[in-house]
């Protein structure tokens, strides 16, 4: 909305305001106006110089259609500048002879159209407006057309109400019908668009056809042209919801729809049409031949009343505002106040469609009184218990650990492309965006890996030799027909882990064992033991694909990214990946109670053996856990060898087994017996060859 400061002065001469000193420069004045506008809630987005005049481009919040005119803005500014006189527009009070033309207005439904005024002027001459009017319109950013269209535009910017003009001779029959369109009807609009209509559209129709889309735009056929000699002016009130729906449907945003869909003033149609008549009379320079005027007002309009306790504005704002000040402010803003002792009955003016209750009254009062006069107080509200956010603590701990072992936290969009999605999930139970920013952003991720992979690639492309990343975020899916959202911790690494240095000239690349060790370090920090089980996942390398279990419950997976997917992402070095359900981790965070440590010594027994190559260490380990004697405290693999001196189909492993009992000292014979029994079972189970 453009405000021409000069034009505003006819309602409120802000140049005379106390806040303006005569010595201010133009730039300084602009700053004062800007502050003034902001103080009532009008944000200036741009100040334009139009032929030496200041034009303010102002953002109007959608709740205040009454601000969409110079008059409306002046009214609010006046409340801030009570020392100035506020001038209402000078409009001739006309008396109309009713219905010389035998014309009729038919409103099909008063809920669609609460009020409709039509006025017919005959023998007019369509011509260019005066230079003064043309320049004024240009200052508002509008293109002058002819003296009639220009009047419509001027009325809108001056007092905010859209009126419309028809070429009377193009209308069939002596009637105007405000009705819903029928399926099959259509209209060609002023902007050249052809619209197919149906019952959702409210139209202005002559005897046979729609001639305008009510509150949105007129039809091209019935529009005012150079040839027009007789016109019909419309000034009406339409239901905001109906206009909004129709305008949205055809994607048109006109000056008229913009106002009607926010809510017009139901009492303004008469002054608006009278103001138009005054302007037309001036441009025609002779008195008008008005042959018809009728104001149909079927809506049941009752002004809204609000009961406002006199102490409420102070109580709700937290500052002392005297009754007199509150009263004066509301009166200046156009509210009616009836004193009822301890409260006022406030009558809301018809142009304030945004007012709901007494809280709005407080906003009106302190807006004018000044937001800068609010004080600062701390509420005394306390909770009965301090709730610890367990998940936050856990996430913080994980974040701390991962960053201190070299991982960077990343954040990605939650939407990915269908192709990326297909790599990580073959199920149909995913969510899709109906109106995405593009196909590449249309699927809600079921895995966080696509984001990590893109991040790894981006950083490799910047010649960073190695990347370890992690992300917290939700995955989305459908389970049992319900939308599911689960928080995931995803970790990925590729390339260099440790840089070479003067002592270690090799450096160290991320491999699966480093990755696995880093992840195990995280869980040992959390005092949670993990178990990995081979499980084929479509996105991991067949030989390196694991499910991760905590206490028998699957909480995630880890592995090396499959070659095909690596290639698709144009990555070269192997990428190690892991994902965990945060809820699966949280469930296993326990408050540990103190355990006395084992005071008795532990004794090591080493064992070197050959094992069949096709056996996996995980199988051996599982058997150890299953067969071990109670006093076996610990076991570690300290050597692994294959090659020279070892048969082709074998590998040589060396392990240390540590025995201890927290009840007593174990004696040598006891340990030997235990150990022998145990390793014999292992040997038997896997055909091991002891060395």
């Amino acid at each position: 909305m453009r405000i021409n400061i000069d034009y505003l002065k006819q309602f409120l001469n802000i140049e005379d305001a106390k806040i303006i000193s005569k010595h201010l420069s133009r730039a300084q004045k602009r700053d004062v106006w800007k502050e003034l506008f902001a103080s009532v809630g009008l944000e200036t987005t741009e100040i334009i110089d139009f032929k030496g005049k200041d034009i303010f481009e102002i953002e109007i919040t959608p709740n205040r259609p009454d601000w969409l005119s110079h008059y409306g803005v002046a009214r609010d500014l006046h409340s801030k500048l009570p020392e100035l006189d506020f001038h209402t527009p000078n409009i001739t009070d006309r008396k109309f002879e009713k219905n010389k033309d035998n014309f009729t207005i038919n409103i099909e439904n008063k809920d669609d159209c609460g009020r409709y005024i039509a006025c017919i002027i005959r023998n007019i001459e369509v011509k260019e407006s005066t230079e003064g009017i043309k320049e004024l319109l240009e200052s508002f950013g509008l293109r002058p057309i002819n003296n009639f269209v220009d009047v419509s535009n001027l009325i809108v910017t001056t007092i905010g109400h859209p009126i419309h003009m028809f070429d009377l001779d193009k209308l069939k029959g002596n009637e105007i019908n405000i009705r819903r369109a029928q399926k099959g009807e259509g209209i060609g609009l002023l902007d050249g668009k052809e619209i197919e209509l149906n019952e959702d559209f409210l139209v202005i129709a002559d005897r046979s056809n729609p001639v305008a889309l009510a509150g949105i735009m007129g039809g091209e056929y019935s529009g005012v042209t150079q040839e027009t000699r007789n016109i019909l002016i419309e000034s009406a009130y339409f239901n905001p919801a109906v206009i909004r729906k129709a305008a949205k449907k055809i994607g048109i945003k006109s000056e008229a729809s913009f106002r009607f869909e926010r809510g017009a003033d139901i009492l303004i149609p008469p002054p608006a049409i009278n103001m138009a008549l005054d302007m037309i009379e001036k441009s025609e320079s002779h008195s008008l031949d008005i042959s018809y005027y009728d104001d149909r007002f079927p809506a049941d309009f009752v002004p809204k009343k609000i009961q406002l306790d006199k102490i409420y504005p102070s109580a709700y704002s937290g500052i002392q505002i005297s009754e007199n000040i509150a009263f004066k402010i509301l009166i200046d803003l156009g509210f009616g106040l009836d004193d009822r002792g301890d409260h006022w009955e406030v009558e809301v003016p018809s142009f304030r469609v945004d007012i709901y209750g007494k809280q709005d009254m407080v906003e009106e009062i302190i807006r004018v009184y000044g937001y800068d006069r609010l004080t600062s107080e701390i509420p005394k509200t306390t909770s009965s218990i301090v709730k610890m956010d367990v998940k936050r603590e856990l996430n913080q701990e994980i974040r701390n650990h991962l960053t201190s072992i070299g991982f960077f936290e990343v954040m990605n969009y939650i939407f990915i492309s269908p192709e990326e999605h297909s790599f990580f999930s073959r199920d149909r139970d995913f969510l899709e965006i109906r109106n995405p920013l593009g196909k590449d952003f249309s699927i809600l991720r079921k895995s966080l890996f696509p984001g990590l992979l893109k991040n790894i690639l981006l950083n490799f492309n910047h010649s960073i030799p190695g990347v370890g990343l992690f992300e917290y975020g939700n995955q989305f899916g459908i389970a049992n027909q319900e939308i599911q959202e689960k928080e995931i911790l995803a970790i990925g690494a590729s390339g260099q882990y440790q840089k070479e240095n003067w002592k270690n000239k090799q450096g160290q690349e991320f491999d699966f064992f480093i990755f696995k060790s880093l992840i195990f370090s995280l869980f040992s920090k959390l005092k949670i033991s993990l178990i990995l089980k081979d499980k084929h996942k479509q996105f991991f390398d067949r030989d390196c694909s694991f499910s991760v279990f905590i206490k028998g419950q699957e909480v995630g997976h880890m592995g090396i990214l499959k070659k095909e997917i690596l290639d698709w992402y144009k990555l070269e070095k192997p990428v190690m990946l892991a994902e965990f359900f945060v809820s699966g981790i949280i469930k296993n965070i326990e408050t540990k109670s103190f355990q006395m440590w084992n005071k008795y010594p532990s004794y090591d027994r080493d064992l070197s053996f050959l094992m069949n190559k096709n056996l996996k260490y995980s199988q051996l380990e599982a058997a150890i856990c299953e067969l071990k004697p109670d006093s076996l405290e610990n076991h570690t693999l300290f050597d692994r060898y294959q090659g020279k001196g070892i048969p082709e189909d074998k590998i040589s492993l060396s392990m240390t087994f540590s025995y201890s009992n927290n009840q007593k000292i174990l004696i040598n014979e006891e340990i030997n017996e235990m150990h022998t029994n145990f390793i014999n079972k292992l040997i038997k189970k896997f055909d091991l060859i002891q060395r």
């Binding site: 704002s317 709901y356 209750g357 809280q359 906003e363 004080t375 974040r399 201190s404 109106n435």
Partner: protein, 343 residues
């Protein structure tokens, strides 16, 4: 044969431990080292020479035992060497550089979010969460944006295919609705999280962004309580000298509403070319207001009995202001050159 060797090694071990006790100087250390490790006549070398007399199957074990002994001797002598040379001059150049130990960083948005959360936790607020995929009711309708409300601009909202009323939340306010539906006042919560709007990415927009919103509902809460709370928060985060400015604003879910600016923490309005405030002296930082009575009613809280305030801010915006970042997309590029700067 092998058993004899075993015994000899055991014996040598015992001797060695006794020898260790008598070492008092580097001279003695060199002497002992020579005795055991000298390549020509050291004890270890003597053991090695015996291997060739052993049977083929005993050889590996013998080798292993001797090596273990050698390793042990070296280890112990090194320890003594270190002890003796401690504090004395030697040839190592200790000015050689440290090694790079890999260290990462949390995301800047996590850092800022945590800092903001900590301030509110200190003030006794509880952190609450809600889903990112939301109902239109919780995201709009319950917040006093009925269908067709101009603020409910469908151009800005991502819809989920196959559902008529499911969207990606456009702010974190639905978390407050969910909380109020299940709790009666006093309510004192913050809800941090991601929000989504259909914006093409540019320097000031990303389709995914983060918010933190606060809500306090109790008896007798008024507008000055909001100002006091925000002032305390802003000063805690940006510094004592930063001041606050309330401007009238409009949000469908608050009445009265206020836009909040802070004075430029960098120039305080004194620098017309300030890169943070562009010379205006003020920075738009958050939106706030008193909770609209209709919103309370929608959550079965009696607006005649209770009142409350709410506020919300973009975490990226706060981070950009605090760290002087000019392009919001950097938060989602995940470029290590960006990420590693903060921690």
């Amino acid at each position: 044969m092998i058993n004899e060797l075993k015994k000899e090694i055991e014996k040598a071990k015992t001797c060695f431990l006794e020898d260790l006790n008598i070492i008092q100087s580097s001279k003695e250390l060199i002497q002992i080292k020579d005795n055991y490790l000298s390549r020509k006549k050291g004890i270890v070398t003597e053991f090695m020479k015996q291997i060739k007399n052993l049977s083929a199957e005993d050889k590996p074990l013998a080798g292993k035992l001797i090596n273990e002994f050698k390793v042990e001797v070296e280890k112990q002598l090194n320890l003594i060497h270190d002890r003796l040379s401690y504090g004395k001059k030697n040839e190592i150049d200790y000015s050689l550089p440290a090694f790079d130990i890999p260290v990462g960083s949390p995301h800047l948005l996590s850092i800022v979010r945590t800092a903001l959360e900590n301030i509110f936790l200190e003030m006794g607020y509880e952190i609450t969460h809600g889903p990112e995929v939301e109902t239109e009711y919780n995201n709009f309708t319950a917040l006093n944006m009925q269908e067709g409300h101009p603020a409910r601009n469908e151009q800005d909202t991502f819809f989920i295919k196959g559902y008529s009323d499911i969207i990606l939340r456009t702010h974190t306010s639905p978390v407050q609705i969910r909380y109020m539906e299940n709790h009666q006042p006093p309510i004192k919560i913050i809800s941090p999280g991601k929000a989504f709007r259909k914006d093409e990415p540019d320097a000031t927009h990303t389709p995914v962004f983060s918010q933190i919103e606060g809500l306090l509902v109790d008896k007798g809460i008024h507008f000055s309580h909001l100002k006091g709370t925000l002032e305390l928060f802003i000063k805690s985060f940006f510094g004592q000298n930063v001041s606050l400015r309330f401007r009238p604003g409009y949000f469908p879910f608050t009445e009265p509403s206020a836009e909040v600016d802070i004075s430029c923490y960098l120039c305080n309005g004194s620098n017309p070319e300030c890169r943070i405030c562009k010379g205006t002296g003020w920075l738009e930082i958050l939106g706030s207001g008193m909770v609209h009575p209709r919103v309370l009613e929608n959550c079965n809280i009696d607006p005649e009995k209770y009142s409350g305030f709410a506020f919300g801010m973009g975490i990226e915006r706060i981070a950009m202001l605090k760290y002087g970042i000019s392009d919001i997309r950097m938060f989602y590029d995940n470029d290590l050159r960006f990420l590693k700067q903060f921690g």
